[in-house]
Amino acid sequence: MEELQAAGVTVGYGVDATDLVRALKALRKAAVRPQPPRDEPGGTAPLRAPLPLLFDRVVFNFPHRGAGIRDQAANVRSNQELLLMFFRGALACLAPQGEVLVTLKSGLPYSLWNVCKLASSATGNGLRLHTALSFDAALLPGYAHRRTHGDDASRPTGEELAGGARTYVWRHAFVEQSFAEA
């Protein structure tokens, strides 16, 4: 966490993925607020870069509501609602050439979520699937997968993701359209 803040990364806590627009507004407000001066004499707080209005990439890795519903159908529905609201929020803050990335574990029950179709239906065909990539945790230095329930530190990331995971990439539908025509 300190590493992130030292590098100038904006970290937002308590952000609800179903209401991205409001969360970003709150973050922007917090960024504008003048910060108290540092303890050392003559030093002031470092000026942070303003939050971008639109993002080139909006990433949601392993979304899960963690509702703990036993009934699988209800659980899938709950998570689909989460993703639906996320896609709407993501579209609102996506740059014209931007991409939305969602990573899911492959196999059941995640394949039941039907994310590919969900994205286009949630945004009224505003998003179109561009491609799907394989998620390789070995290429990400220092990445540790955290489970939704019962974070077990003794379990390595590789074992957790042994079943494979896919990253789906969406773009604005009009951008995809122009690619197809070109």
């Binding site: 992130l4 993002f55 080139d56 990439r57 803050c93 492959s106 990539l133 990400l140 220092g142 003794s154």
Partner: protein
């Protein structure tokens, strides 16, 4: 032979070689009440949805490219949603060589919960390393329970 009083267009059509039977267009619905004829595959315009067709052939599992594609470009602004322990943000930061100006990481948990979770896992890890599996003790005793770790963490937090 083409008839004498035929128009030029008609002659052309008449003289044109007919395609073999297999290639002839099949009717969409038969006039009799038999089984429906197979639907004709309409050829799409050049370039239209071509990549989608290719993807279908490959199947969703195939695909040589892995995720951190183009993520090392630090000029891109990236919004991370639902970061459980912020480790993906850390990984991205390392890929970008510490350039985190355009990076926004968000998490559902508040700061306190994250700190607690981290201290818990840290306690768990230290306890695990301190008390390795020994011959004298059973494995069940040697491994601290989750509850004991939590208790220890809360003690440390208050101390």
């Amino acid at each position: 032979m083409a008839k004498q009083n035929m128009s030029k267009k008609g002659k052309e059509r008449f003289n044109k070689k007919k395609p073999p039977k297999g290639e002839q267009k099949r009717r969409q619905t038969p006039s009799y009440g038999g089984p429906a004829a197979p639907r004709l595959v309409v050829k799409k315009k050049k370039g239209e949805h071509r990549d989608r067709g290719e993807r279908k052939k490959k199947g969703p599992r195939a695909g040589g490219e892995a995720l951190p594609l183009g993520f090392s470009d630090s000029s891109q602004s990236v919004l991370l949603v639902g970061e459980g322990n912020l480790s993906f943000a850390r990984a991205l930061l390392r890929l970008r060589q510490g350039q985190g100006a355009n990076l926004v990481a968000t998490t559902f948990d508040d700061e306190q919960t994250l700190l607690e979770a981290r201290s818990e896992s840290a306690v768990c890890a230290t306890q695990l390393s301190r008390r390795p599996f020994s011959a004298r003790r059973s494995t069940r005793r040697a491994r601290p329970s989750w509850r004991s770790c939590r208790l220890q963490a809360s003690r440390w937090a208050t101390a």
